[in-house]
């Protein structure tokens, strides 16, 4: 599995399902897998009749009823613990944290139990669960609704941490996550929930986890990112192209385990790497990628690695939040700097 997947181009003439957004792709994947596997169930706050505060579970309650789509009491510890219990007993629960900033009470059950049950019992029990987390800033939401906190989980063995950044990847990776025999934290970049549409055939085809997706080929500099910043990176690549700079754009997509080979291969050609992420810089997951480059690609690098990230502060309330998030400008400037070096 450990090889890059180039973004599939759908032949628009083949069959013509309507194009859908990232969040609709999530719903579509949930519905598909709930039809296909009766062990799959959805639980979280307001996921039932209300269809989720982002409408990710819209229609599922009507379709599958209260024993497959469960509103939980208002407690994230509860959601995590129930999910571990269900998964260890053979169900395939897909839990929702309503927002990134509310997932911290889930850390204990995820780290101590979900990530360890297989290891602890030498494979007797396992924990095939998915935790869906609307992630990141930029939607003018209140406090705690805009956090990029993936680093909480990327140092935890036994977990998969994934983040799709397009409708197609949202669909395919969610199917893969639900079918995965181990726990998966599935971050959803909420800023691009409805940013654009893609045709996503509802064919139940999963996309591989544990691989990076090369979104755009390039030769001069490698832009490595995940989540909503894919948007800014693709825009930056356009801007750079206008200046005659060819930027390769890689969507990491699965942070843990990391497909470093795809990144290394790219950097072996470009010699330059700009890592872009929304989380604060220090000890954000970008550090791991830079570290691997320092260890394994040092002789390929012709310029220092750059990180363009959220600042080392909390994302501000919404009047200032766009000044916090990495901008196309900042990415372009960093990329240019790598070109200027040496």
């Amino acid at each position: 599995m450990n090889q890059a997947q180039t973004m599939t181009k759908i032949d628009p003439n083949a069959s013509t399902p309507a194009a859908i957004t990232l969040i609709e792709a999530v719903t579509q994947a949930l519905a598909y897998e709930m039809r296909a596997d009766d062990r799959v169930l959805v639980l979280g706050e307001d996921v039932g009749v209300n269809g989720g505060v982002f409408r990710a579970t819209a229609g599922l309650h009507a379709q599958f009823g209260s024993s497959r789509v469960l509103d939980t009491p208002l407690d994230e510890t509860t959601i995590a613990g129930l999910t571990v219990g269900l998964a260890t007993q053979g169900m395939r629960p897909v839990a929702e944290a309503q927002f990134d900033g509310f997932m911290y009470p889930m850390v204990d059950h995820i780290v101590c139990h979900a990530a360890r049950m297989r290891y602890r019992t030498r494979g007797r029990l396992s924990c095939p669960m998915v935790l869906r987390v609307p992630w990141g800033g930029g939607i003018r939401a209140p406090e705690h609704h805009s956090e990029a906190n993936e680093a909480i989980f990327t140092n935890v063995p036994g977990l998969r941490v994934v983040m799709p950044s397009s409708p197609q990847r949202a669909y395919g990776m969610l199917l893969a996550a639900i079918r995965d025999p181990d726990p998966v934290i599935y971050f959803e970049p909420k800023r691009i929930y409805r940013a654009y549409k893609e045709i996503v055939p509802d064919d139940g085809e999963a996309l591989p986890l544990d691989v990076c997706y090369v979104l755009r080929d390039g030769t001069d500099v490698t832009l490595v990112t995940w989540g909503a910043q894919v948007k800014e990176c693709l825009e930056a690549a356009d801007r750079l192209a206008a200046e005659g700079i060819s930027a390769e754009v890689i969507d990491v997509a699965t942070l843990r385990p990391l497909d470093f080979d795809t990144i290394a291969e790219s950097v072996s050609r470009t010699g330059r790497c700009v890592i872009v992420h929304e989380a604060p810089k220090t000890a954000g997951f970008g550090a791991e990628i830079a570290a691997r480059l320092a260890e394994e690609s040092m002789y390929d690098l012709v310029a220092p690695v750059e990180r363009v990230t959220g600042y080392d502060t909390h994302i501000p309330l919404f009047r200032l939040e766009m000044k916090y998030l990495p901008s196309v400008d900042r990415i372009v400037t960093a990329a240019r700097r790598t070109l200027a070096a040496s």
Binding site: V49, N50, G51, V53, T282, P316, R319, D329
Partner: protein
């Protein structure tokens, strides 16, 4: 049969939905002189609330959590506290905050996406808005513990919703209040809904008040639309707290007459008939009827006061709208007391991006 323990949960109601006394009230609290200023405050809050919603609808405010229907509970709680107590709201207790000196413009600033709304004119030790549900109940236990350790005769008051009473932090607050016998008043504002999840789906407990039994606390259920009951409930809890008898859980029975927030559409999950029915128990109507019957209030006074409220709120709104956005360095300046080197460098870079190196 041996019984290890027995409990009763008392329910307080004095002023019924019709605006008439349905039980003998504590004489001082039924006094129109006491109730009138609180009623006027309720009207002010309702004015503020509807104008804030309008502000959001016209794109001048972020997501806003209305307090429509909660006015008696919120104002009553605020009225029952001392300035040097600590108050910890969740996100819609405007009535209580105003009683404590917080300005409407400050509330608007916060919901308008500006942290300065939390640096408010209320008591300096009071807690800011708390978005992670019910965590305020638990840190208030810490505040109460400080009062106890320091021998101060204050109390910590914290408010959460019916949904919030499912949160583990709420139980942790109950547990520690009992373990340390803390001057802590846990106010559960049961408005029937936690976004789309009805009270009945949160728990199998017959009352939310009885959750206090888990920690051996004093438990009380009150009609949260009855100002007299709210005041009496708070007084009992306050007396216990200040005299060292420990903590209380009070469940205030009220109703969320609005959507959860301006980002919510309750018609998706809630029967309009239920809302219509709940209006019959509106806290405002019954107190108006009572005060009018006592000769303490009139339609003319109400019209004048509502106009006055409108003016005052508009002033606050203007002050809010005229508050300039914080400069970019505000992102960095309040993070640590002593700014670390890396943060300082990033601050400089952010300034440079604005051409303000």
């Amino acid at each position: 049969m041996t019984i290890a323990a027995r409990y009763e949960i008392e329910y307080l109601q004095y002023l019924g939905p019709e605006g008439a006394l349905v039980a003998e009230p504590p004489a001082d609290l039924a006094d129109p002189k006491v109730l009138l200023p609180l009623f006027k405050q309720m009207l002010f809050v309702r004015t503020f609330d509807s104008k804030a919603i309008a502000l959001q609808r016209t794109g001048k405010l972020g997501t806003y959590a209305a307090c429509l229907g909660h006015e008696a509970t919120h104002v009553g709680i605020g009225a029952s506290m001392q300035p040097d107590d600590t108050f910890a709201p969740s996100y819609r207790e405007y009535g209580a905050q105003f009683m404590r000196g917080v300005k409407p413009r400050e509330v608007l600033l916060y919901w308008g996406g500006d942290e300065r709304g939390n640096d408010f004119s209320g008591p300096k030790q009071d807690y800011p808005w708390c978005v992670p549900i019910s965590t305020q109940m638990l840190y208030s236990a810490g505040a109460a513990l400080k009062f106890k350790l320091r021998g101060e005769k204050n109390m910590a008051v914290a408010v959460c919703g019916d949904g919030g009473s499912s949160k583990t932090d709420f139980y942790a607050a109950v547990n520690s209040a009992g373990a340390y016998s803390l001057p802590l008043v846990l106010c559960v504002v049961n408005n029937g809904w936690a976004i789309s999840v009805p009270r009945s789906a949160q728990t199998g407990a017959a009352t939310l008040a009885q959750k206090g039994l888990a920690g051996g606390l004093h438990c009380l259920q009150v009609d949260g639309n009855d100002m007299i009951a709210v005041l009496e409930g708070m007084r009992r809890a306050s007396e216990r707290a200040r005299s060292g008898e420990g903590g209380s859980v009070i469940e205030f029975m009220t109703y969320r007459l609005h959507d959860h927030t301006t980002a919510d559409d309750a018609r998706r999950y809630r029967d309009e008939a239920e809302v219509k029915d709940a209006w019959k128990r509106d806290p405002m109507t019954r107190l108006r009827t009572y005060l009018t019957a006592k000769g303490a209030w009139s339609e003319a006074e109400e019209a004048a006061w509502i106009e006055e409220c409108g003016k005052r709120v508009d002033e606050e709104i203007n002050a809010y709208l005229n508050t300039p956005v914080q400069p970019v360095e505000a992102m960095f300046d309040y993070l640590y007391a002593d700014m670390p080197e890396d943060v300082r460098k990033q601050r400089a870079a952010a300034l440079a991006l604005e051409g303000r190196a």
